[in-house]
């Protein structure tokens, strides 16, 4: 069981590196971030809140973009079909995919975001909050995205539809995330607890429903 998880995770990791998808998400994040100073005209307006918002928006879009190829290639070339016929437990596959997706779209952003925030605003007091709320929120992005990415697999206009349909589900997370990052918020722990609650429920619920969807949609 454990071994299989490791094998599939390793394979997925390797696929991400080999197909050059790995660098795409983090580059997109940085590119998206650069738009904000350009759009604001001059960096002196880029105060605290704007830099935090910019980081959250870029994270959101980078995750949305990365979501599309979560199951796409395995579906198109039939690997998922072989998994199902050969009774490889799909739960393990889904968890491994979620983890590898997070390793490439969540983790680099978490590591780089405090630095970006400091460079943008010259203000580092809220970096810890940003760090914690990103750690809590990016896995939720991945987990929520996973069933929706799975159920759009058969559609012809998958990319556009996926972005459109997933975004409303991300909105509550971004609301709590931004509230949690705000240093003036006295009741800050409440947001973290809420995100933690969503994460712990989501870790069970979303992979399960993804397995259901993959099984019924695969034919």
């Amino acid at each position: 069981m454990n071994n299989l998880f490791y094998i599939i995770l390793k394979k997925d990791f390797k696929d991400n590196l080999l197909s050059n998808k790995a660098w795409f998400t983090i580059s997109f994040f940085l590119l998206c971030l650069i738009i904000f100073p350009l759009a604001f005209g001059s960096s002196q307006y880029l105060e605290l809140n704007v830099s935090i918002s910019a980081i959250w928006i870029s994270t959101l879009f980078a995750n949305l973009i990365a979501l599309d190829h979560m199951y796409k290639e395995d579906y198109n070339d039939g690997t998922l079909l072989y998994y199902i016929v050969n009774k490889v437990p799909l739960v393990i596959v889904v968890y491994a995919k979620c983890l590898s997706h997070w390793l490439f779209s969540g983790l680099p952003i978490i590591l780089i975001a405090p630095l970006c925030s400091y460079v943008f605003s010259g203000y580092s007091e809220n970096n810890l909050n940003l760090f914690i709320s990103l750690i809590l929120a990016t896995p939720i992005f991945t987990l929520i995205g996973s069933p929706i990415a799975a159920l759009m697999l058969g559609s012809s206009l998958r990319g556009a539809a996926l972005t459109f349909i997933t975004l409303p589900f991300y909105l509550p997370i971004i609301i709590f995330g931004v509230m949690g990052t705000n240093i003036n918020n006295s009741n800050i722990n409440a947001e973290f607890y809420l995100l933690l609650a969503i994460l712990s429920i989501g870790m069970i619920f979303f992979p399960m429903i993804t397995v259901k969807i993959l099984k019924s949609i695969i034919n």
Partner: protein, 240 residues
């Protein structure tokens, strides 16, 4: 010929069953709405706090209830479809989002028109309003997924799974006014300790809500009949 249409036998029967119900719905809905409008606009008393603007409540609250009720309906139809794999359920569920989205729009627009005189602003980003806006986008997503899978076998499954995932939003909307301290006033009619609202306002609200609910059912039933007929057309024109 009749035997070949066997697979639509049940939808056909259903179509015939809802025909009289549909008409009853329409012909009770219209007078109820008219009565509700007259009482609500001219005879009900103004609120002691909000004054005359409380008259917007009769359309705002009734539409809000219907947009929530419609999602619950979609949710249960989808669950039934996934359990029993009976295509009629998802066919019914797929007709609801378009009608429901209009009621959601009405709720949002009338709500913001009510908010300007009472709160001094058309829109605030508080929990109730934002979650209702998200409901609008979830309805849009449901319509979109229906269109994206038009001739795909998996369309029904995708639709029902998405509606189940989206159902997370419904308790958030319902309890957002209790969980967070927001500008929006807490629930005053549907709550555990009975309605706190004045009886003279409750009566027109109830009349209005019943009327609009019946109208909603009329529209849904008509759409379901059209959808069944559409399937029949697809079947008839696909065989040379």
């Amino acid at each position: 010929m009749l035997r070949k249409l066997h697979k639509y036998a049940n939808p056909n029967k259903f179509s015939l069953i809802i025909m009289p119900i549909k008409n009853v719905c329409l012909y009770t809905a219209l007078p109820l709405i008219a009565i509700g409008l007259i009482i609500g606009l001219f005879f009900s008393p103004p609120d002691y706090q909000q004054g005359e603007t409380v008259r917007i409540m009769y359309i705002h609250v009734s539409s809000a209830w219907i947009s929530l009720f419609a999602y619950v309906l979609i949710f249960f139809l989808s669950v039934f479809y996934l359990i029993w794999k009976f295509p009629l359920f998802v066919l019914m569920a797929k007709e609801i989002p378009f009608v429901a989205i209009i009621f959601t729009l009405i709720t949002l627009i009338t709500g913001s028109l009510w908010g300007k005189p009472t709160w001094g602003t058309y829109w605030v980003w508080d929990a109730r309003l934002t979650s209702f806006l998200i409901l609008l986008f979830i309805y849009l997503g449901l319509i979109f997924i229906d269109k994206a899978f038009k001739y795909n076998v998996n369309g029904d499954l995708s639709f029902s799974y998405l509606s189940i995932i989206g159902a997370i939003n419904i308790p958030i909307i319902k309890f957002s006014v209790d969980w967070w301290n927001t500008l929006h006033q807490p629930a005053s009619v549907i709550r555990a300790s009975g309605p706190s609202i004045n009886i003279e306002m409750l009566i027109p609200l109830m009349i209005m809500s019943t009327g609009v609910l019946l109208l909603f059912f009329y529209l849904i039933f008509t759409n379901i009949q059209s959808a069944i007929a559409e399937k029949k057309i697809l079947f008839l024109s696909s065989k040379d």
